[in-house]
Symmetry: C2
Subunit: 429 residues, 2 copies
């Protein structure tokens, strides 16, 4: 049986299909279930991969190589061997690294706060003293980035995501013409939620920006830096290498974390930047705290040994994550693609699939899923102010459920997506 | 030989004493040493007391009693059993507690930042939109509190410390007449650096305040809540009990931490407040982070079991800390008291002795010590803007050095204090 595209159906065929899909939906709905594809969380089996992190001889968690007692105060920027580990991961040097707590979101939030109240390195004034400021937001993007802007009344401007990353013509236009544009949120590798990795040209275009503002910053949230799950990993150009050629290193704050490497609630977060930025930030951060958890830093160093240890560890994650993406993508390929009512990028890493349905179907699809026992990320969430202008993007998070639940969830999702599409198509006729 | 007070000496006697003490100082100075009484840090032997914290079966560090996987995201306010532990310690309920990271300084800083940018519960506007705001600063006090105010341009007003705590007449006058006064820094028990514990009347006077501002907050930094080292512990009235009688519970943010209970760099920090405040703060904090390190929370719960476990643990600290205070106080009693050139409160807990010398001697004494190889907290540090108006207070931190080093350090300190006093007295003649 060949499946026919909904876009080619006449009113009668649509009505027949609607009746069939409604029945299918109601049958699924009648089964009482609790399914969830909303959360970009590791599954407990993934967390089990890092249990050895908690199984270390206490005596190995006391002093650093240079003799600092990590149990005591101090070392605001983090212990050297831990900075080196993440410097190696990011292609930078120790002097470019601050180890900060266990949440990179917290580091990003604090970086915005400091810029608002105190200003940035070489900036003339605090952002907060310059009237309404603006951030560029590649969309779809990460809702928690946008929530920070919304919290502080920072105006957000949507920038479309292309297969190569954000539309850099538009980025350049805004950044170079408007001094009120102070920042841009980027997830450059296995982007949340589209899964796209920025092309080399895109990274170079970022590095070549000549901002109208003297205090513009790129928030380079490299959350999925080692989160490829296919044999071939996407390659992301090191933005600092590109910036060095342009003399624009001060423009970038890079962030990463081990939240989806070791433990989501008890990993390590990293801020990387130019030496000038780091010195400036440490001076500000020294007012906020005497230091972050250095025992956990040593714990991670002991666990990974070196950057190859991180790569080897991530292969174990990949083996668990890949079948889940396969499950989602395979079902979408079967149920949605031939019907012409949705598209998606096939990510080779990260935590999400961004489903793009017909215009005006996303919130309806999410509601239909919810009513049948499947929780999805709210429609609109991947957009500033929660407003998806075309109401057609749904973020799918495959990692947390086990495979049987995931299979049931994505099956239900496809039925709901078909029903929502049919409703819109029938209304158009 | 009876020692004569310097205050009773004539010019000739002072000159003779000056010559003798100069010789004594120069003899000490000729010995090359590295001594340090500047840091309110636990000694490594104290840190050893908590090594069992790091020696727990990994399987006991996974789930909370209600089944939350602490390795994963979530539980912004902390895990229930940990909140309960600190609720018990503070005489409050779980709903009054937020477990936040490992640094109470960070919680305080963030609380000021949120108030500046977003405002406080039931406040009409963010502090940052109200022109120059002010904080009251009981002096001598904690330099890192004052540094937060200075960082954000918050004007600081000195409030004298009395043997019962801050001068509450002055506090009341400022708080109730000036709506620009938004906060006060308090270390109510074993105060940093004087060691004084606020009297019940003082705590009740705080609770009875009727601020002119609708967004005034008491920053109640109960850092030394379980840090008594004598058999008899100072009793501090629970400020929330006092506030409940007055209907002023929303006025208080209480902070504490295990930085000097378990590990200074890897303990737990706590924010306690009214239920209204907590709900309001959690909403703001949810933008900043998904949650703090819950594994470390569980680690602490397993280690202490309950609040009696904390008390028992602190007895071990007391046994290590008490001889150090004895050493300092005994030497001061012998060398300084009879000469009439200094006074100090005898703390029964905490981490400091506040030495009050003759007016105009503190910075000279610190310099003399430094030149002879003893590092002290900079003179002026316990005051806003680093300015001790009488230049006579020096913060002594006895815990970090071992006893032989401490004995040598305090001996040198006394010689330097005598020399500095003699210089001032001779100039006066």
């Amino acid at each position: 049986m060949t499946v026919k595209s909904y876009l080619d159906m006449d009113a009668k065929a649509l009505a027949a299909e609607y009746e069939a899909v409604s029945k299918e939906y109601n049958d699924l709905k009648s089964i009482s279930r609790k399914l969830d594809m909303s959360r970009g969380k590791p599954n407990p089996v993934q967390l089990d991969l890092s249990m050895a992190l908690l199984d270390q001889a206490p005596a190995t968690l006391i002093v650093t190589r240079k003799g600092t007692d990590v149990r005591n105060y101090g070392e605001l920027a983090g212990v050297d061997e831990c900075k080196q580990l993440f410097a190696d991961l990011l292609g930078l040097e120790q002097k470019n690294i601050i180890m900060g707590g266990q949440s990179s979101l917290n580091l990003m939030y604090d970086s915005v706060v400091r810029a608002l109240l105190l200003g940035v390195y070489k900036g003339s004034r605090p952002w907060g003293q310059q009237g309404t400021i603006k951030f560029l937001c590649p969309v779809p993007g990460y809702d928690r980035h946008f929530a920070i802007c919304q919290e502080f009344g920072i105006e957000m401007i949507n920038i479309p995501m292309l297969p190569t990353g954000p539309d850099m013509d538009m980025v350049k236009e805004y950044v170079e013409s408007d001094p009120q544009v102070k920042g841009i949120w980027c997830v450059p590798k296995y982007s949340n939620p589209s899964g796209i990795t920025y092309s080399d040209d895109t990274v170079r275009a970022f590095a070549a920006l000549r901002p109208a503002a003297d205090d513009f910053r790129i928030f380079w949230d490299n959350a999925y830096i080692v989160h490829g799950f296919e044999d071939e990993d996407d390659k992301l150009l090191n933005i600092f290498d590109a910036c060095r050629e342009q003399g624009t290193e001060d423009m970038v704050y890079e962030f990463t974390s081990t939240s989806k490497v070791t433990f989501s609630g008890a990993g390590l977060a990293v801020l990387a930047a130019s030496e000038g930025n780091i010195k400036f930030l440490l001076k500000q951060m020294g007012i906020q705290t005497i230091g972050y958890d250095k025992i956990n830093q040593l714990r991670h160093v002991n666990f990974f040994k070196n950057v190859d240890g991180i790569y080897a560890h991530m292969k174990k994650h990949a083996a668990l994550v890949r079948p889940k993406f396969d499950c989602v993508l395979h079902t979408l390929d079967q149920e949605i693609a031939p019907r012409g009512i949705g598209s998606w990028y096939r990510p080779r890493g990260g935590y999400f699939v961004a489903f793009e349905g017909l215009e005006g179907t996303a919130s309806r699809c999410v509601t239909l899923c919810k009513e049948a026992g499947l929780v999805l990320t709210p429609a609109g969430a991947p957009f500033p102010y929660g407003k998806d202008p075309r109401d057609n993007v749904i973020r799918i998070a495959p990692t947390y459920p086990d495979i049987p639940s995931l299979a049931a969830a994505v099956q239900l999702f496809c039925v709901a997506a078909r029903l929502a599409a049919l409703e819109v198509l029938m209304a158009d006729k």
